[in-house]
């Protein structure tokens, strides 16, 4: 361990997909470092490599080359089992489509990661209810997804991501399926969590979402083209998002157009 405040460290990450005869380079030598307590947005158009980066950061995928360290542990040296345990303890996932289990009440959803952390029974239930209270849904614990609004569903998903007290919350288009007002609820919650010291990494193409973050990393064609604050330079809770000119220029065009692109991407 070099620096105890460094949570994530990437050195020269590349990811190459073999698509039939052709090779697709999704990541082309990305080096990044994220400290504990940072609030980072990774932006870029579809095909920029941001999703691939998120999968690697989330330990769901392995890089073709390069070193990825989380809390000083090199992911390349870990077994599938160890990676699963790290995902369980260190990383909380928030997805665009919430990915809640149908028919299960909210507290059951939140309890799910505890099941894989071998916490069971009333201890698990209590912690699930506690975490639901933390996202402001104490009175919705017994509601099933179909009885909750989109914003509430996403907050349940966030509670699920937080229940194991991870070091990192990894959100992929967390407001993508929400309207502006409920999206705002979720962003306000992120703000609160950030102030409580949680490290947040949000993947988005939404400029407004990105602007809320303290640090914005812009990607294009598998490389980082701008970074508003290098590792350690953006102080936690620093306030300014410090977007540089090129970063702004590379930000996605207006939302409507991007969403069309997004659909193409999803279908692919």
């Amino acid at each position: 361990m070099t620096d105890s405040s460094v949570l994530i460290d990437m050195q020269n990450l590349t990811k190459v997909y073999q698509m039939g005869e052709t090779k697709v380079v999704a990541l082309d030598g990305v080096s990044l470092s994220i400290d504990e307590g940072e609030y980072v947005a990774i932006v870029g158009t579809s095909g920029s490599g941001k999703s691939t980066l998120m999968n690697i950061v989330g330990l769901l995928d392995r890089p073709t080359d390069g070193v990825y360290q989380i809390r000083g542990q090199s992911a390349g040296e870990l077994t599938g089992r160890q990676l699963a345990d790290l995902r369980n303890r260190e990383i909380g996932f928030v997805f665009q489509q919430f990915n809640l289990l149908a028919r299960a009440p909210a507290w059951r959803q939140v309890e799910l990661p505890l099941f894989y952390a071998n916490v069971a029974g009333s201890a698990a239930r209590e912690r699930a209810l506690e975490t639901l209270a933390q996202v402001g849904l104490a009175d919705r614990a017994d509601h099933k997804p179909e009885e909750l609004s989109g914003g509430q569903q996403q907050r349940v998903a966030i509670a699920r991501a937080l229940v194991n007290r991870p070091s990192l919350l990894l959100a992929d288009e967390p407001t993508g399926a929400l309207d502006t007002r409920t999206g705002e609820e979720v962003l306000a919650l992120f703000e609160k969590l950030h102030e409580e010291g949680l490290t947040l990494v949000i993947i988005t193409h939404d400029q407004e979402v990105a602007e809320r973050a303290r640090r914005v990393i812009t990607m294009r064609d598998g490389v980082v083209i701008s970074d508003s604050g290098g590792a350690g330079t953006a102080a936690a809770g620093g306030g300014s998002n410090g977007l540089s000119e090129p970063a702004l220029a590379s930000l996605p065009r207006p939302v409507a157009i991007v969403q069309v692109e997004e659909k193409v991407y999803e279908a692919g």
Partner: protein, 412 residues
């Protein structure tokens, strides 16, 4: 074992698809119920027969002629068991373990009383027969020694014969005719209650001398009347084998058989009869249950099919679980336990149905056998259901573990 913790997950997933789950279980339910009922019927039938055999005494030996295999009459079917053999076997000096001997000669013949007539199995025998065969008398008595030696025209009949001829069973003192010869009824046998094995309801017993001399046209062998069979009673169950040896020795000597010759008679004991019945019923039961087991196989394939559908349907859930930290083994066990719960539940319902069927059958009046489902069959049924779940759930569960979480999370 932490296996238990996967059960709530499995149960809630099954409850989410009740209709599908119950249709899937149907195969296992039918298979288990069919196997159990068939095993129960087989067991009931064999207990019934074995009980019947045992009630007739386990000390009995039956000597039957084996036709056409001795030196004198190779190829022909001359019966060589005679009254001479019976007299010799009755000598306790050479057969200390043989208590009593009763010859039989009989056949199916018309019995007439007034305007009524019926066909009965009429057997000529001696007074010892009642004791050797543990006959129970409802009315009157069995044949006496005096009647045998004096060749009296008397008959003891079964209840079917009595009711066919007289419409009642209190017929002691009545007269019947066989081959034009009048007989006085001196006794009526106790009704045996079933038309099956060992029943004497359609029988009649007359003195052996009468059967030989007046009723049947009986051939002679070396000057002696032949007999259809000889029953002997050993002094005790332990001495049955010794009695068998003594009888065999005497008969081989009397029939002039050399050391290399095959016996021209065979001796069967109740024990050997029990063995034979046991092996016949178990072979039959095995055959029938393997047919029933095919429906278990079909049910198992149904389980596999539905589990594969379930895995595909829940691709996204599997991806999510993996992202949230599920190990490969967690995913494997989740789906294995789910198919295990399906088949175990099916097995339990199948067991309940088979028990219901057994209880129902026992209420049908006059149904000849009970359906007996033993604990061993229950354990086997549960084991087989669980085995089905594990075997047919394994492949779908392995499919689930192989899903890539990134792809699975995007799955629509």
């Amino acid at each position: 074992m932490k296996l238990v913790r996967y059960f709530p997950v499995a149960v809630s997933s099954i409850r989410a698809n009740k209709m599908r789950a119950s249709l899937t279980m149907l195969g296992i339910i039918i298979g288990v119920a069919a196997v159990l009922i068939i095993l129960g019927v087989g067991r009931g039938a064999s207990e019934d027969i074995l009980g019947e055999v045992a009630s007739q005494g386990t000390t009995r030996l039956t000597i039957s002629p084996r036709t056409g295999s001795n030196g004198d009459s190779a190829g022909s079917s001359v019966e060589t068991l005679t009254m001479g053999d019976v007299r010799t076997l009755s000598d306790p000096a050479f057969h200390p373990d043989v208590r009593q001997v009763a010859p039989q000669y009989g056949g199916s013949i018309q019995v007439v009383a007034g305007n009524e007539n019926t066909r009965a199995r009429v057997t000529g025998t001696t007074a010892a027969y009642a004791d050797v065969h543990k006959l129970e008398i409802a009315e009157g008595r069995f044949l006496t020694e005096d009647e045998i030696t004096q060749m009296s025209s008397v008959i003891v009949i079964g209840t079917t014969v009595a009711t066919d001829l007289f419409g009642r069973t209190q017929v002691v003192g009545e007269s019947v005719r066989i081959s034009g010869e009048p007989f006085t009824v001196v006794g009526v046998l106790e009704e045996s209650g079933n038309a099956g094995f060992g029943s004497n309801d359609d029988s009649g017993f007359i003195p052996i001398g009468v059967a030989h001399g007046r009723v049947f046209n009986v051939p002679r062998y070396r000057g002696e009347y032949v007999v259809t069979s000889i029953s002997a009673d050993a002094v005790s169950e332990e001495r049955v084998d010794a009695a068998e040896q003594q009888i065999e020795q005497t008969l081989r000597l009397r029939h002039g058989l050399g050391a290399d010759d095959d016996s021209d008679f065979s001796i069967s004991t109740q024990a050997s009869l029990l063995d034979t019945i046991g092996s016949v019923t178990s072979t039959l039961t095995l055959l029938l249950s393997s047919i029933a087991a095919i429906s278990l196989l079909v049910g198992g394939i149904g389980i596999m099919n539905i589990m594969l559908v379930s895995v595909t349907e829940r691709t996204k859930e599997i991806g999510l679980r993996k992202a949230l930290g599920a190990h490969t083994s967690d995913v494997l066990l989740q789906f294995l336990v789910e198919s295990l719960v399906l088949t175990l539940l099916g097995g339990l319902i199948g067991i309940a149905i088979s028990y219901g069927a057994a209880a129902l059958v026992s209420r049908i009046p006059g149904f000849p056998i009970d359906v007996l489902i033993g604990i061993d069959a229950l354990v086997m049924a549960l084991g087989v259901s669980a085995g089905c779940g594990l075997v047919f759930g394994l492949y779908p569960a392995m499919r689930a573990t192989r899903l890539d979480p990134i792809v699975a999370l995007r799955y629509e």
